[in-house]
Point group: C2
Chain length 434, copies 2
């Protein structure tokens, strides 16, 4: 299929081609109230202003719902359901396409262009959803295997449950932040000498601060408590996908996590990209998940062969010196469980989901060092140094380090479906005042 | 101090004496919109109606904030802060006290009494807070020890971190429900033969459905991300306390929980009592926590010797036969960590808290079987049967079982500070339709 061309200037190589139309929350210097927008090329289209100026005049289905575009989150828009997301996305494509049937709406409406289109570099993006609950999974099998080898050796690297269910845990919703938000290095309890007989922790800034390269999926549909979402209907509950960096304090985690799992090691910050790529825009890039040689139970069996996404992912690390190095290149298909499987598993107990709930994939890694989505894996838990450009090296993150995750689908420079980036910079730990 | 007597009929033995004044969310047959109320004796005082009819005319501090009483949750009232909660509680006490300085407000105002006072048995209570995040701790040291003995034996019963930090994990906020809500038995993956070499789970309704007797504390103050709440200020962040039953699927948990902790075993339902007892009302019942023979780090050291509550707790189990048995009698002082310590630990990484966040204490147990707050402990993980009245017995919960937790402070029948009850009945598991 040839790419959709636009009358609007969408630069070649833009993540936000006409094939994409991702949704986000913006504010502008002249209007600080956050509201809904889509990204298109180097610009954001302010949907509140667009709607208020008859932008949706040719789309009767959305008119009763236009108030959703004035909200400070995508929750209400998401709750309208996948068919409405699709109609809105396709309508916006039709507004921007070269031979638009509606030139009067925007193409020849210079006043509305001026009011509703903002260069991305002049706007502020906000957290796209009011997140009710955030759940993080562990579906990156290469990551699970590599970590298992580090901590338990190769014969028991994957736990017995790993291929039977999408292992996951409840995360902290309140500390999910939008790309660009600085991340403060956490303080906490650390066991300096784990092999000592008497185990007494010290209080310290985290010394093993790490990233986790993940995808996040937002839920758009609620299910009543007690009523599971069948695997065949789970896809309809997924609004769209973002890049995610689930910052992790490995040394805090090692001491605290027995027996109830990671807690403070994960609750100081999780960064997500600002623009949510609709599930529909990712549909052409579906591919097969990693092979699972166990027979999964029927409630996890998908009809579709292709259920994960072929997304090229990259992590770049820029140090205080200003030098930037590519740390990781991998692909989002390195998952053994899909988001529909995660959702079906999550709700099999009757757990109620709500629009705005966030599911994290778990760390996405390939099998070689330069494909691994965490420093834990690359440095073998601090045993070896990862070489950066300019002669620097890292075992874990240092203060001032800026981590930039990017992700994109497709290879046609005029039809990329990309996520933009997910960026965070490490600020030094606070000295504790008691 | 002699009890406060009221011109209003507060039955002897009521949990909701004048010494209490707990807050909740109610609706009534004639007005289905949930709003704020306090419980007083056998009645609820509708604070929306009370405020609208000049009930707060003598309390100028609250007048700019009266809209909080028309909300469907206590979040906005809680966010006003502890000094305001105190002023409102004391003012309501002054309205109801025998020699009220304000008789015209309610005592001699028959019209307002009729409009604003509802018998508790005629109203519906709702979830008191819109819960942002829910965290469950593990601070009941007897419970932790007994479970540790069951799974690992007495020498390593408590993990090395247990006395150094309040172990906790992020729970599922969306499945917290108010007392009275039925609980559907969850389905899930269960490993029937854990000692088999090849570990293959089956799909089954949970066969080890259990209760956890806990307290829950609601947060009323936010802290910015990156900024810990010092232990000395943590008390000011606590709004009040409820009874909690953290329903648990022990067999699902045993298979799923390695390595990231409990997930589906806990996310199908957590019940809390409807009336939130203000921290101020519990102040006279503060007592010393269980002794911790480790020196805790400074950020967890409390100035106050007394930091947990002396609350008599009871669990009753009523089966389908109608027979009721007291399963547990214990006391909330069986905690080794206080809520301020939990909050200080939770935020030491900079994790942001928000009004409406819920902290669970972990299961509260004494040392003998009839003092234990879970069937896991009482039945030694299903090895022995717990005798009920009428010749029945239980290892874990059966369909139709109704669990009733109650809790009360004090012994003066005219000045009890009680929690009412936290009730839930087990409904049979769904047959799964795929």
């Amino acid at each position: 299929m040839p790419p959709l061309r636009s009358w609007f200037n969408i630069p070649r190589g833009s993540h936000f081609s006409l094939a994409n139309i991702p949704f986000g929350i913006i504010s502008t210097p002249s209007s600080k109230t956050p509201r809904v927008a889509v990204a298109i090329g180097d610009h954001a289209l302010d949907l509140e202003v667009f709607a208020a100026n008859n932008g949706f005049s040719a789309l009767s289905t959305i008119q009763p719902h236009q108030a959703v575009f004035s909200q400070a989150s995508l929750n209400d828009f998401a709750a309208l359901g996948r068919p409405i997301h699709s109609v809105v996305r396709k309508y916006i494509q039709s507004i921007f396409v070269q031979d638009t049937p509606y030139p009067e709406v925007l193409q020849t409406n210079a006043a509305l262009q001026k009011q509703a289109l903002f260069p991305l570099k002049e706007i502020k993006t906000h957290l796209p959803f009011r997140i009710g609950d955030y759940t993080d999974f562990f579906a990156g099998m290469n990551h699970a295997y590599t970590c298992g080898v580090l901590f338990r050796g190769p014969t028991t690297a994957l736990q017995p449950n790993y291929k039977h269910l999408p292992v996951g845990y409840h995360g902290r919703a309140s500390s999910v932040v939008v790309s660009g938000t600085p991340i403060r290095r956490p303080n906490g309890q650390i066991l300096q000498n784990p092999s000592a007989e008497r185990k007494v922790p010290v209080f310290s800034p985290c010394k093993k601060l790490d990233i986790e390269l993940e995808l996040g999926a937002f839920v758009c549909k609620s299910n009543p408590q007690g009523e599971p979402v069948p695997i065949g209907e789970a896809e309809e509950s997924l609004f769209g996908v973002v890049l995610m960096n689930d910052w992790s304090a490995r040394d805090i985690q090692a001491w605290e996590y027995v027996p109830l799992g990671p807690f403070n090691a994960k609750n100081f910050g999780t960064s997500i990209s600002a623009w949510v790529v609709l599930a529909e825009a990712l549909e052409p890039f579906k591919t097969k998940a990693m092979e699972n040689d166990e027979q999964v139970l029927p409630y996890l069996q998908e009809k579709e062969e292709k259920s994960v996404y072929d997304i090229k992912l990259q992590v770049d690390l820029k140090t205080r010196s200003g030098a930037s190095s590519t740390m990781t290149k991998t692909n989002a298909k390195n998952l053994v469980w899909s988001f529909p499987q995660m959702l079906a598993h999550h709700t099999i107990t009757g757990c109620p989901m709500q629009p705005g709930d966030l599911l994290g994939s778990g760390t996405i890694s390939g099998t070689t060092s330069s494909e691994m989505g965490s420093l834990l894996e690359q440095s073998e838990n601090g045993k070896i140094s990862v070489k950066l450009s300019g002669g620097e090296e890292r075992k874990f993150l240092e203060d001032g380090d800026e981590v930039r995750i990017s992700g994109v689908c497709g290879s046609d420079e005029e039809a990329l479906v990309g996520f933009g980036e997910c960026v965070g910079r490490i600020e030094p730990a606070h000295e504790l005042k008691l």
